[in-house]
Each structure stands twice: as structure tokens, then as C-alpha cells.
């Protein structure tokens, strides 16, 4: 049969190695050297490419870990700085409140002598002014490390799976490396996005703090304007003859 003939022809053909070796043996020394160089290239290439992919893979993994560590370190640093800022802020607020409340109590004691029974209302108002708006004390960067680590582990698994599945290092090696690097980039972007969320929270806190500061400043100006009118009234009262 024709198919059997073709199979037997294929089976009877010399292998690539045999053909090149034969060519080298029959072509004489200069020819032989050139052929051997071709042979070296053919035989050496898979190993060289494989090594390149392996090194690139290891480098990419190390890079991913380095990037994750650096981003985590930055997140920790941001968290610590944020905690310090919150501690300092709450300390200042407590001082302001304590001083204000002490003055309000003193005022209340004197007010009672004038028959003002709602003397404690000033103390309540001072406490209300010193209330910290909700969400201002929340730490923005918390929990980042665990998420980044989980991402790193998944990434490493992906790379290992990829390299294991393609251990033969065929002509697809370049594509493998490309996908590996693409995975690296995706992972880096994920880490960046997580960091961005931390930044967003701090941004909101800044906005909220500035908003409340603006309200209080406006209220203070309004209050001082009323005080000025009260002083004017006192001036008029002083002129009333008894």
C-alpha cells in the first residue's frame, strides 16, 4: 500500500543528526567546521533559550517579590505616619477640649450665681465643637500586606505551573516569557491599585478635615460677629443714665 511505502520511506531516512554528521564527514575539514557550527547552534539553542527563560522567570519572580516588598514597606510607612498624625491630632483635640471644658465649667459656676440654670450648656457646646468627624481616625493603609502577599503567592504558583508545563522549552518559549512578563506587569498593576485605594482614603480624610475646618472657621467668624454686636449693646447700655 502507498501509506505503508511512505512510512517505510520515513523510517528509512537518516535522522537530522545523522545527515549533518555524514555531510561533515564527507565535506572535508573547512566544510566540516561550518557544519559543526550549525550543529552547535541547533543543539545549543534550546538549552540557551531555556536558560534565558529560566533566568528571566527567576528574575521576574524576584522582581515581583521586590516590588511587593517595596510597596508593602511604603504602605507600612504610610500607615505608621498616618497613625502618628492621628495620635498627634487626637492629642491636640483632647487638649483643646480639656481647656475649653475647664473654662466652660468655671463660666458655668459664675453663670449660676446670675440665675442662669442652663449653665452647663456651654460645656456641652464646647464638647460638641471638639467632636472629631466620623472616619477621620480610620487608618487607610491597614491590611495591605496580607493582600499583597496573597497576590505574590498566586503569581509564583502561576509561574511555576507555566514553567513546569513548558519544561520542554520548545519554540513557544518566547511566548511563554512574554506571558510571564505580562503576568508580572498585571501583578504590579494590582499592587498599585491596592496602594491607590489607601491613597484615596487618605485623600477623603484630607477633604473631610478641610471641610470641617472651613465650617468651624465660618461658625467662629459668625460667633465673633455676634459678640461684637453684644459689645456694642453693652456700650449703649453703659450710656443709659441711672
Amino acid at each position: 500500500m502507498k501509506i505503508e511505502t511512505m512510512d517505510s520511506e520515513i523510517q528509512s531516512r537518516p535522522s537530522v543528526m545523522e545527515r549533518i554528521t555524514t555531510a561533515a564527514e564527507t565535506a572535508g575539514r573547512p566544510r566540516s567546521e561550518r557544519v559543526m557550527k550549525v550543529l552547535d547552534r541547533v543543539l545549543g539553542a534550546p538549552e540557551a533559550v531555556g536558560m534565558a527563560v529560566t533566568i528571566a522567570g527567576e528574575n521576574a519572580r524576584a522582581l515581583q517579590e521586590r516590588a511587593a516588598n517595596a510597596l508593602n514597606e511604603t504602605a507600612h510607612s504610610m500607615e505608621e505616619a498616618t497613625q502618628d498624625a492621628i495620635d498627634q491630632f487626637t492629642g491636640w483635640v483632647t487638649k483643646t477640649k480639656d481647656k475649653g471644658v475647664a473654662k466652660a465649667r468655671d463660666w458655668g459656676a459664675r453663670a449660676l450665681k446670675f440665675g442662669l440654670t442652663k449653665a452647663t450648656s456651654l460645656e456641652d457646646r464646647v464638647v460638641a465643637i471638639c467632636n472629631i468627624p466620623a472616619g477621620l481616625e480610620e487608618i487607610a493603609a491597614g491590611g495591605f500586606e496580607a493582600r499583597a502577599k496573597a497576590g505574590s503567592e498566586q503569581y509564583t504558583k502561576n509561574v511555576v505551573d507555566l514553567m513546569t508545563a513548558k519544561a520542554g522549552l520548545s519554540a513557544e518559549q518566547r511566548a511563554i516569557l512574554e506571558s510571564l512578563l505580562a503576568a508580572q506587569e498585571v501583578e504590579r498593576q494590582k499592587l498599585e491599585e491596592k496602594q491607590a485605594k489607601g491613597r484615596e482614603k487618605i485623600g477623603l480624610r484630607v477633604e473631610k478635615a478641610r471641610g470641617r475646618a472651613g465650617e468651624l472657621k465660618a461658625d467662629a467668624d459668625n460667633k465673633r460677629s455676634w459678640v461684637e454686636k453684644q459689645r456694642v449693646f453693652k456700650g449703649l447700655l453703659a450710656k443709659v443714665s441711672v
Binding site: 528574575n59 473654662k103 453663670a111 518566547r174 498599585e192 485623600g203 470641617r212 454686636k229
Partner: protein, 114 residues
């Protein structure tokens, strides 16, 4: 300024409810009486001083809180700024390292087929 005019002015000035009620009580009594005696006048002056003091305490506390909040916001902004700088450096380092890996991969010989 007579007592009626003073009462009129009193209505135009914002006092706390309790102080306002006391001031009106004294001035109304003075209007009925036809004059404001020195004791009642001093009492009114003291009440005004009390309300002024309370108003100033509130305004001062508001200003201090506004400053504290402003400072807190500025500190957070500084933290963000420093964080952005650090992240930009990390990103630049990663970009450089990825480029080096890509260059190394491009330099690897292709596998010829026979």
C-alpha cells in the same frame, strides 16, 4: 438712649436664650418703673459680659479646632506626597528591571527548525 430704644436694640442683638430672657426681664421692669437703677444696670452689664465670654470661648474653641483640623489635613497631604514619591521610585525601578528582562529575552537565540 431711652429704655424703649434700648429694648429695641436688645431685640436686634443675638444673645443666648437664657441671657436674653433675663435682660428683657430687667429692662421690662425698668420700663414699668420708669428708670434703670444702678444695681439692675450692673446686673445687665454682667449678663452681657457672661454671654460675651461664652461666645468668645466658643469662637476660640472653633478656631483652635479649625487650625487643628487644617494641620491634620496638611500632615495627611504630606504623607500622601511622600508616599507618591516612594511609589514613583518603585515604579521606575520595576519598569527598568522589566525592560532589562525583556531585553535579555530578546537577546536569546531563536530556536531554528530543521
Amino acid at each position: 438712649m431711652n429704655l424703649q430704644e434700648l429694648k429695641q436694640k436688645l431685640n436686634e442683638v443675638g444673645f443666648s436664650d437664657e441671657v436674653s430672657a433675663k435682660l428683657h426681664e430687667i429692662i421690662d421692669a425698668a420700663i414699668v418703673k420708669g428708670s434703670l437703677d444702678a444695681v439692675a444696670k450692673q446686673q445687665m452689664m454682667d449678663l452681657v459680659d457672661l454671654d460675651v465670654e461664652a461666645g468668645l470661648l466658643e469662637a476660640d474653641t472653633m478656631d483652635k479646632m479649625a487650625l487643628t483640623l487644617g494641620s491634620f489635613a496638611a500632615t495627611n497631604e504630606k504623607i500622601l506626597e511622600m508616599n507618591d514619591e516612594k511609589e514613583a521610585k518603585i515604579e521606575a525601578d520595576v519598569e527598568e528591571a522589566v525592560s532589562q528582562i525583556e531585553d535579555a529575552a530578546k537577546a536569546a537565540p531563536a530556536v531554528p527548525t530543521l
